[in-house]
Symmetry: D2
Subunit: 344 residues, 4 copies
């Protein structure tokens, strides 16, 4: 595997250099922030009494900081954000900002059910150091979340956010897919830079890439299970389309992958293999990551991810209730998904 | 229609008198609180600038207070609770307590995603005057909300709540049905008095009534659309089963009906017709309530309910974003569902 | 329990006498056929080598003939009709016609995927003795089965059928609910007499009863699990509405219940209790039938029903492949659903 | 675009030469049949009176025969097989066999609901000239279609089939995904050569490719919408894995694409671009095919596909009822999906 330095130059060659564009979008002069790359969605460590363990959080960050990630997602679904108070959410972002390498991006999940609360959380997260926010679709009233309602919600948030906004569609949790037509409309907003799409429907991802190709709009795969396929349908169009349409960031340009919390090197390697066109090796690696990825996402969820983190030298620890620890039988299945693919 | 007084005596004859058992359950000596009857799930009025309009809330309560409701549900799904801050949630409960008639029950929705937050909200709601709490199933991590996890959650909340707990299953919002086996286990907890079931599956309601028949456990239909059917599969068993098993509250004993916010007299009349065995008239009335009920629940949601409240002399007003107002075409359909059934 | 004779007079008092109206609908002068009552959906017995065992079929019919059923449904979902050839389907109907009591109705399932095939099967079934046909919604192309397509399908079939047509909606098998607006439109066809609705949504059933109240249209509950509730929302309206609107058959007037193949007396008793207004006893009986009913329908399907038939003195026998026999663990659970409710 | 000849040599270089292995599998000596390539699922033309129009079928085949397809799928979902009689199904296969080029493969859909009927149809289709059969999952009793039941079904069919069997999973029609564990087990059967997977879940496809990598098992994408992604996760592994494991056919090796009935050259071009590693051009082409593909599959179904065939110089014509023709508004949307992507 390449070291972080070489790696960084590889990425630079394939994608444009990072430009922190915080606050500049309103002027309309700058390009959108480049968010390409791999991000682990950081988990929130808890003590035995369910307090946030900021020390363990920082330890995990220091370990994760050695991989060539583009940055970190904080307060995504894997961060148990619905279980944290507002002040805990902000404190976690603040601590991660301090503990993580300076040259990486911090994407903070600021979604709430109401538009107003989301705006307030977004502003606060910018104040404590987030580079961009990732905003999950409101979902409790999913029956009323039409494209119009969602466009209104995200437009308001993006209008008032001091930092770029990433849309976040995660139907397994929300029961709601952000409709493609809403994504296309929102892609035209100067402060909306992309979408994290966790649904796994690569036809949909291809269509989003296609229909936003003139918008400097970026797609992050929301899971390692379809990372290669997302690169295949999205990434390579950058150059070609960039030339034709004058934008440089179109396409699936990365992933927010729970699995990167435990197999960080491997997920980054998969990114590199895709970016450098080594598709055969990429395939072989992708195949071996599917079962472990499924295990730490929808099969066993955060309790599975945290248990695996314990195995791999990180602090996983307990979840907040009502999430329950795995029972021994589940743990065995979880372990098998890693051993049978050669990772344990 | 009967006046509130006669009405009250009718109910007394069919069900036992209200005993406010706050705090007494732990001693194990008392019966569970009787929650039978009809409740409107109160909406939260907002000003044009999206502030809670406590004045309008009180006005609505005064108007609703004239109907023979058993009480009021505050901070249910129709109360837009996910859009309120914690302090707003408590202030609303406090104001309703003061504005509502003294002899009625106040059921307050205290559900949060985490067990700990739910416990805290529950305790606070008891302090500001709730008679019981209604606790919605946590749902963001629905893939991990097994019966075991949900039993753990509700048991913890019920153990620590100073007031009785009502389970709340509303799959249209949560994507999750509280499993029957979990309901049966939880029905044995001395501080869990019943369930509000909004799913509309009357086979399930019948089964819950049957399997909790020894537990003094009460079922409230979560919608006016299947109120008659819920009485039919649940209520009449009270006497018979009470005699046989020594409990008096088994069965579907009421409803939490959004429609009662606009057709309060009619929903109470339907209750009375069922309780007094006037099934033919009950049927005719039930049939005329289905379309209006569907319109103000899943078809047009809270925006539809609030618009209808405006028509019926209450303050409906706007919803908080991202909920959107109905467009004219939707309004027309909504109105037709009331006019075609003779209510407007 | 009442004997068949007394029973018959009870039914006569509540519903009009049977009038076989075969062929008369086209003249527009007669009322629609009365299909009120309970029907077991007859299973198709197979030998060990998967041949239809007509002898066992007749034996079962002779045993079932002693209960006060209104008739028999042949080639419903429980009859494994998708596994039979066209000639087997007709031969089974023919044999049942011969084996069953003369005064009972034979409803034959004639649904096929194409309209043309359904018409042909319908005509053939009339020729071999069916009194009416029950036509399941075509479903392989469910994405294209709009109300318009389904209205066209059923209208064609009803136009060309020499005997009355019963609509059949069974979403558990077809993934498709016949939309209420299509049902309402079709209820106006003189040769469409009712619907068997197996979805279990009693709000929907109430709405169908309400919106077809001027059409002499009858609703049969498709399962014993919500039979009482269906009577409660539908049946009693007959008299009142009949008086008002000049039709006599409106309302949920019966059920097609798999469970009646093994607990025939009990399902008929439940009907009688509902028809005579003995709701308390009806409730107690209904409650004890829910788990057994669930067990022989969606939980264990036809293999569960046939296994139970073996226990209750009928011939169940094997299913055709790919349906598999229950394993011992499943059998134990099945048995428990009957023993725990006092039926075994 | 390459002409058929050059094309053919490209394919030869990437995949092994076709070996018609009919009947040889039982000996255990030969490799499985190579089914790699693109197949249009042929539609069944009907006259205005809904008769099969064999003349138009042959005309369509002659036109389609000019493209570098690997072969034709007959009686797939797009062939309206559920609307044909058994003899029509066989006659269509027989006619296609005669009309199509000799060097192409004929995959015939032989699935029926019962195992026995499927076996019989399979044998008959072999007799009238099919090279392999494609067997859809039985689905009417989907609640009972466990992995065990499906493994039993397919094993029986494969045991008794004189020609190779391709599994066929199409959840949009059947409501059923053939479980991965069943696919893995069945991949070991010497007469089961692959699966047509129409679900569009590329993580699932990657996992199937991975877990069947030792089995000479082939995956055909069931739609043009995720064709590139399927090649990306599957195809390139052939060489590498072939070397390592001694099998040569592993991976996603083609597609059965409704869209190939109207944009045959383009779908074949997409295949070629993937096979030759021209990913940037492949992406651009794939992107432009997504909306047209969606339009002729789940959005407008066979009526949409046939209407488009009329536009592109083939005979589309009417569908059999209950499938309905598109209305003018739908036609306009359909046309827009082609014009906006530059195909009309």
């Amino acid at each position: 595997m390449l070291g972080p330095k070489v790696w960084s130059s590889v990425r630079r060659g394939l994608s444009r250099a990072l430009s922190r564009t915080m606050g500049s979008w309103a002027s309309g002069e700058g390009r959108k922030m480049d968010i390409s790359g791999i991000y682990p969605p950081v988990t929130t460590p808890f003590t035995a009494t369910a307090e946030v363990d900021y020390g363990k959080l920082e330890e995990n960050l220091h370990k994760l900081g050695t991989f060539p990630f583009r940055g970190f997602v904080v307060q995504g679904s894997n961060g148990e954000f619905p279980f944290l108070t507002s002040s805990e959410r902000l404190e976690v972002v603040s601590r991660v900002r301090q503990a993580m390498p300076k040259d990486k991006l911090l994407l903070a999940g600021s979604g709430c059910e109401s538009t107003q609360a989301t705006v307030e959380m977004t502003v606060s997260m910018a104040q404590v150091g987030a580079d961009a926010v990732m905003v999950v679709t409101p979902c409790y009233y999913r029956g009323r979340m039409s494209s119009a309602a969602l466009i209104h919600h995200y437009t308001k948030v993006a209008d008032l956010s001091p930092i770029p906004v990433v849309l976040y569609s995660v139907p397994a949790n929300t029961g709601l897919d952000l409709p493609v037509d809403a994504v296309v409309t929102l892609s035209q907003h100067p402060n909306i830079v992309g979408i994290k799409d966790s649904g796994g429907d690569v036809t949909r991802i291809g269509l989003i890439v296609h229909k936003t190709r003139r918008q400097d709009f970026q797609v992050l795969a929301g899971s390692a299970g379809f990372l290669l396929a997302s690169y295949a349908v999205g990434l390579m169009s950058q150059g070609a389309i960039g030339g034709a349409w004058g934008c440089q960031l179109a396409g699936a340009v990365g992933g927010v992958c729970a699995l990167a919390n435990v197999l960080g090197a491997q997920v980054c390697q998969l990114e590199r293999l895709c970016l450098t066109g080594q598709w055969e090796d990429a395939q072989k690696l992708q195949h071996r990551l599917i079962e472990p990825n499924t295990a730490v996402t929808w099969r066993f969820g955060i309790p599975g991810l945290k248990k695996t983190m314990d195995w791999f030298g990180y602090y996983g620890g307990p979840c907040r209730a009502p999430l329950q620890e795995l029972n021994p039988a589940q743990e065995e299945v979880l372990r098998l998904d890693f051993t049978s693919n050669g990772w344990l």
